[in-house]
Symmetry: C2
Subunit: 390 residues, 2 copies
């Protein structure tokens, strides 16, 4: 059943191997001074930077560059961005990169003209909406599929001093005005990053799917999207330049977390909460923290709704029920999930991410505990899940 909700997603998407041709026109509707945000500079090697500069120049923009956004963007880096945006009084922010870069751009967007403590009032306090301060509009050119940041209001920021990594979901006034989605822009991504993005996408879908035991259209859409991600992931790991697979993965990642799948239903999100805590303590790659703990996590919560996990096994993994119990079918489905994690080369444990047994308490302490899809975890549950994932 679908509960009451409002769906509104005005982000305009330009998709395909010619998508960048629209960038100059898309920029046309916004002001002259553009803050160009990007990461470590890989876009200067793969031609994306040149395409973007050409579009900005054609559109007659004045460019202020802000490079160096790291994965797991930090509060310190945010303070730098706020200062630069404000000192230059930029009219628009163009983020060129993956989820970290776009998340960071949105964080600068809402906090540049906000005089209060942005970390405390926006991220730590989840119930605080974006303040009345001026919001600088954001656009995005996507170079890594996974986070869905290109079509949602999410922004994850890491506070290294406090060992906290927190995601905040802002409203539609903070969502990108447009995004350029060219699957070829993801071809030069390191293999490990591609795989991390694939699992991040899968995790977004699963964390919305594993909640509720009713009949709800959103869950059927989730199943379709998971089947697509699995099929495309297998082709992409064989040949990362398979355009069909990479275009499907890019589109799937956008729809995995752009507010459609959560429509009218409860959600889980504890894998992300634990994964964020692992990243806060180790700086490990986001998608790999999720793959490293997922099987252990889902085995813990499966008894809360064996029927849903059995459905997952049958519909998503084509497990044959053979007259067995839901628990048995569910267990085979989670085996299939684990086998797929290994097959595509995602992390199937967290030791390789730098987690050691003496860190488990600290990670559990840093985990924000949500109600969960089928069970509210205790601190000890989280330590158990982490230990089983070592």
């Amino acid at each position: 059943m679908l509960g009451n909700f409002i769906y509104s997603n005005p982000t305009k998407l330009y998709f395909g191997d010619e998508a960048q041709k629209h960038l100059s026109d898309a920029l046309g509707g916004f002001g002259k001074k553009v803050l160009l945000i990007y990461g470590g500079g890989s876009i200067k090697q793969n031609g994306v930077y040149d395409d973007v500069i050409e579009a900005l120049t054609t559109a007659g923009k004045e460019i202020v560059e802000l490079p160096g956004v790291m994965s797991n963007p930090t509060l310190d880096k945010l303070d730098e961005g706020r200062r630069i945006a404000r000192e230059n009084d930029v009219d628009f922010i163009l983020a060129v990169g993956g989820g970290s870069t776009i998340d960071y751009a949105k964080a600068v967007s809402v906090s540049a003209w906000y005089d209060g403590d942005a970390w405390r009032n926006f991220w730590v306090n989840q119930n605080n909406p974006a303040a009345d301060a001026r919001i600088i509009p954001v656009g995005a050119v996507l170079t890594m599929a996974g986070t869905g940041s290109e079509m949602n209001g999410g922004s994850v920021i890491t506070n290294r001093a406090e060992n906290m990594k927190i995601g905040k979901v802002f409203g539609e006034n903070v969502m990108p005005k447009f995004a350029v989605l060219n699957p070829r822009y993801t071809f030069s991504l390191p293999r490990r990053q591609m795989i991390a993005g694939i699992f991040d996408t899968m995790s977004h879908i699963m964390e919305q799917y594993f909640s509720g035991d009713d009949d709800c259209t959103s869950d059927y859409l989730a199943e379709g999207l998971m089947r697509s991600v699995i099929a495309s992931s297998r082709a992409a790991v064989k040949n990362p330049e398979d355009y069909e697979a990479r275009s499907n993965l890019m589109w799937s990642s956008t729809w995995a977390l752009n507010t459609l799948l959560k429509a009218g239903k409860t959600q889980d999100w504890m894998v992300h909460m634990i994964g964020h805590a692992i990243s806060a303590c180790t700086d490990a790659t986001h998608g790999m923290t999720l793959s490293g703990i997922s099987v252990a996590y889902y085995r813990h919560i499966m008894p809360g709704c064996p029927a849903r996990f059995a459905r997952f096994a049958k519909v998503v993994w084509d497990v044959c029920p053979d007259g067995r119990s839901d628990e048995e079918i569910a267990s085979e489905g989670l085996d299939a999930l684990g086998a797929w994690i290994r097959e595509i080369g995602a992390a199937s444990e967290i030791t390789s991410l730098g987690v050691t047994s003496d860190m488990l308490d600290k990670i559990a302490d840093a985990t924000i505990i949500l109600p969960g899809g089928y069970r509210r975890l205790s601190h000890d549950d989280i330590v158990d899940i982490l230990r089983e994932s070592l």
Copy 2:
């Protein structure tokens, strides 16, 4: 594979059994004089009219009423609406009803201030975009699920003098600014209308799905949505007041035709073309014209891509492949589609819709022939399909 495309869908949706509480606020952003468009007056029996008038009054609007929109809205009725909209210089159009009413509202929206021949230049000439004339913004309160008109730019108009029923897809400036989707508003709909809407939804999905033989995310989403429609339809025909089923059907119908499923792919749409020709010649209910011919149509085009039809059988209808050929599996899938049509009580032939064997040539003449998903039909093919559907 996903080809190049632009996705932009700014319609804001208020969904749920309390959705109408947002109507007054949603109207706030638009001008004072509202043209209230509705159908035969059933909204005065079921309380919807009262809810709408209350919201309009709260929002301080001046109301001009335009009732009497028929299913298959005609060009004559459109001329009446253009005149009323223009004479009253309305600022906004609020359509309260199903797809016919909302289609009609969009037709008035684009043509009220257009001085040329709207029928010829917008509907007959499919390549003509909406003219530069002022477009009156539209909002919708949905009372029947099926057409998807609440979140797209489509508008189907019937020219009785020419025996032509033509759908035009306008751009996002013609799409509803918002839509109120309260599943309870559909409870009082006659059973036959509910069933017609269910098959219309299913047909929208199938006509986008049955084209292409590649691996494409859009097709996986289509499969998920079809599974949801089938499950909910079975519950809804048992108990039309099953909120879970009706809410899923309403949401599925919106996403079946709001531009998501067609993203990056070719499409078919010949069932709609033949169905429109049947309605133009008989005034038969739209959804029933589609169910009446679908099995015969798909058996005709199946040889063009047995693999896709076998996939449809397995994923959507849970047909067990049992080592058989794609053609055999595909055929069992189409049997399942036919059995479902009979199970839910949709028309499984077109004789009951008023079609007689002497009309087949005329209907084929009135059919707009598109390239098709797997095969371009000839006039004789259409006559054959119609004859097999008698």
